[in-house]
Structure formats: C-alpha cells, structure tokens
C-alpha cells in the first residue's frame, strides 16, 4: 500500500496506488436544509442515463430519508458496523480534527484491497422503503391495510433528506478495488468512470464503494456508475455553446439546493486558493459544507450543508467534526455567504467566479438576542472566460397565499 495525504482526515492514509491528482476536481455543494425530496433530480438522471434494459434498479442519483432509509437498504449502517468491527472503539476523531480510526483501505482484510460488502438483490430493490411512514400504522393482517384506515405520515421525530450521487472521490474505492484497472479518474476534471470495454463484471467496485454507487448491469453484464454527466461538464452539450454545464441532477433541482462546479487543484491535491469560486468559498472559507462520511477515506467531493435540526452526534458521525462550525455558519450567514447561496440554480452553466455588488439594507431583525441585518446585495456569476452568466439579488419577493385560497394547489 502507498501512503497518500487525505486532507479531510488531516493525515496520511494507506491507498493501493501512489498519490496522483487531477488538474481539476468535479465538486458540488448540497444544502440538505432545503431539499423537499421531490426526486426531480433522481428522475432527471434516470431519464438521461439509466432508462435502458438492465438499468431498472439503478438510481445513480437517489434521495433517501435519514435516519430511516437507504439505497441500497442500510448501506451506511452496514459499512459503519464493518468498520466498527474491524477497529472496535477506535473510529474516532481527535480534538485537532485528525481522524484516528481506520479507513476502509486500512481496515481491509488481507485478501481484499478495500473493506466492503456486496449488497443483496433485495437491498437494491426498494430505494425508499421504510421512509415517510405513518407512526400510527396498524395492520389488520388483511392485505396489509390499516385498522382505522390509512393515516397520513405525522413525523414526530427529526429526519432529513440525504441526496446522493457518486462522490467522484479523490481516492476512489471503486478504482482501488478493480483488479482489471478498468476504473479511472479523468485528469482534466476528476470524474471517475468505468471503462465499459475493460470491465468484466466482477463487481469488486460495487463491493468496495462505501457509498454503493457502482451498479451491475444484468443486460450488459458489466458494471456502470454515475458519469458526472461528463459531456455536459465538458461543455459538449449544444445548449450552452460549448460552455461547461452542471449535471442533470443539479440543474433539475426544484429545491435549488445544489450547486456543482470545478475546483482547481494544486499538485498535492489541495484546493488552489480561488477566493471567488463559490465552491471554494463555501467549503474552504465559510466552511459551511462538509464531506459525507469522510472517515471512509475516499475523500469524497460532494459537500453537504448539514441539516441544522438534527442531533449533533448523528451529524458528526455522518459529516465529521466540522458540524457545529458549519451549522453556525449556516444559521447566521455572513453577508457574503448569503449572497453566494443565491447562485444556486439560476443557470445551467458552471459558475467559475462570482462578484458581489453591495445593495441597500432590506430589513433588520433580532435572533437569539443578536442583531441580524439583511442586505439586498447583487451577486454576479461569471464563466471561465470572464463573461457574465447572470446576476441575481439576495432578496426574493415573498407572496403569501390569501386565506380563501389557503388549501389550493
């Protein structure tokens, strides 16, 4: 095993291959606080990439309710318990933010390159099973119908939606596990792909990916995975005249929770300082967005703004030690962060740089005894070549539905 540096863990870790980095990295920020689980993203992906024979069960993009659901079922609790078993009581972060436990590479048994498991067919079958279910459900035993008729879900406890695509990891477990070297990470944008000609359907990637994003196609008998809509990211879709475009799941997002882009990397894999790249701002400056299960060790590149109503212990397990800081940055956003958050879903094009023009004060209020002032700033988004894509303001008009139409759809 080679030693590679994983900045999300704050330390070197074992990885089967030498450290190499792409020039740029595909990355995105998902704001879990705003997702409405409409699944438009899932359908956008499916109708673009996985509508063929053999792809019926594939959801390269899925949205699951935590802590109840998972696709495949229990994917995260399964790998977490495998890790806990391999390293009892050791899976901890130290005070300085270094991960002291074992990654899936370090915990691999001698006969495998990565610790993992192959989900069963049943686990893939029902992407949203056990989610959004009434706590009042009682079965009479007849066709599974409820005694007193069905009741609508009434959530008494916290839950949140987790949006998941392939993380186009910097240290992909799928590529590490493939005995065929059929999986590669593109040097130009870090998108991780399975070579459809070299793959021999061994499903070692399915077994190794902790996020369970490579999937076996029973029609073609080889495995497939999220391709990061690479033609769009390359700008080869005619819609934007050659300018890089965000993926289908991002651009379709109804809740406007997703923003995807490309970040420039230094040779050592660290993010090049790029103060006015919205992703750089959110991840590195405001530190409002965190990787999903960084302790797995793959250095995933989808960053999540954690849901602020969820118990911190659960969130820390899921997003690592930066949770409190991220939530604080989100609940009382700086003037700049607030403006950056307006960049979400105003355009299909990748925003490479933003600028803010200060605007007038919109209102002032008090929260937790502290003054909070809202300014109607304008944020301007630019292409790679410096051309303006769009500009938008922080304040949005609020329209209250009149009482006589309160139940209208």
């Amino acid at each position: 095993m080679a030693e590679v540096y994983n900045w999300q863990l704050g330390r070197n870790m074992e990885y089967p291959y030498e450290e190499h980095h792409s020039k740029r990295q595909f990355a995105a920020v998902f704001n879990t606080n705003r997702c409405i689980a409409c699944q438009t993203c899932s359908m956008a992906c499916k109708s673009t990439w996985t509508f063929s024979e053999g792809q019926e069960y594939m959801w390269w993009n899925n949205v699951e309710s935590k802590p109840y659901g998972g696709y495949p079922a229990n994917w995260d609790s399964k790998i977490l318990s495998q890790l806990a078993e391999a390293d009892p009581d050791g899976q901890k972060w130290s005070e300085d933010g270094t991960f002291d436990g074992k990654t899936i590479f370090e915990a691999a048994p001698k006969n495998e390159r990565v610790l993992g498991y192959l989900p069963t067919n049943a686990e893939w079958r029902t992407p949203n099973l056990y989610e959004d279910t009434s706590t009042k459900y009682k079965s009479s035993g007849k066709l599974g119908l409820a005694d007193g008729g069905a009741e609508l879900p009434a959530h008494k406890a916290w839950f949140f939606y987790l949006q998941r695509i392939c993380n186009h990891c910097s240290y992909p477990a799928c590529a590490a596990a493939c005995p065929r070297n059929a999986i590669y990470k593109r040097p130009e944008d870090g998108i991780v792909l399975i070579d459809q000609e070299r793959c021999r359907g061994y499903r070692k990637c399915m077994e190794a990916c902790p996020y369970k994003k490579p999937m076996y196609n029973a029609q073609s008998r080889v495995s497939e995975k999220c391709i990061g809509c690479y033609p769009r990211v390359e700008g080869s879709d005619p819609l934007t005249n050659g300018h890089p475009m965000e993926t289908r799941c991002m651009t379709a997002c109804v809740g406007q929770i997703r923003l995807q882009g490309l970040v420039d990397l230094n040779e050592d894999g660290s993010w090049k300082e790029d103060r006015h790249n919205p992703l750089y701002h959110m991840v590195k400056v405001a530190k409002v967005a965190l990787p999903l299960y960084p302790q797995f060790g793959t250095e995933p590149n989808i960053y999540y703004i954690p849901p602020r109503w969820v118990p911190r212990e659960y969130l820390t397990q899921m997003f690592g030690p930066g949770v409190e800081e991220a939530i604080n940055a989100y609940r009382a956003p700086s003037r700049e962060l607030l403006a950056v958050m307006q960049l979400f879903r105003r355009s299909q094009e990748i925003v490479f740089r933003y600028e803010i023009e200060e605007g007038p004060k919109a209102y002032e209020t008090k929260v937790r005894g502290e003054k909070f002032t809202m300014y109607n700033d304008t944020v301007i988004a630019y292409r790679e070549n410096g051309e303006e894509i769009f500009r938008t303001e922080v304040e949005e008009p609020v329209i209250v539905r009149p009482p006589e139409r309160s139940n209208a759809i």
């Binding site: 056990y130 009682k138 406890a157 916290w158 109503w309 209020t365 008090k366 005894g369 502290e370 909070f372």
Partner: protein, 85 residues
Amino acid sequence: MSGHDKEFDADDPMALVPAVMDVPMDEASYRQMAETFVEEYMLLGYSDEKIVGLFRNPFYRATHEILKTKGEAYVMDLIEEIRNG
C-alpha cells in the same frame, strides 16, 4: 397469522411494505426541531405575531403539530427564547 406478525418477505408481490418507525423522541431533540422552525422564520424578518400565526394555522402541518402537542405556552416560550437568546 396476522399481517403484523408476518415475516418480511422480499419476494411477496402482494405485501405492502411500510414499517412502523418508533424513533424515540426525547425532549431535547424535539425542542431543537421546534427551535429550527422559529429561527428560520425570524431570519426571514418575520414578526413574533406572524410566527405565532404559522403555528395556529393547521395548513402549516409541522408548526401546527407542535402547537397541538405542546400547547400555546410552549410556543410562546419558544419564540421568546429564540428572539432574545
């Protein structure tokens, strides 16, 4: 055998597959959830009166559920706490 006791059978096409999720709801988590609602509204610049209205209105299911379960005093206390810290 009642449906309730029936073992889960992944291959039974007739089986409805909802699950009873009895997630224990402790007071602290409940309060955290309720606080989040209130804080969000305040950040939008809403007045206390407007926020109470959202709890009273049954079409705002989540906030209304809190009012129904915990009563008006709990909600007023919540708003007061989030406003003044």
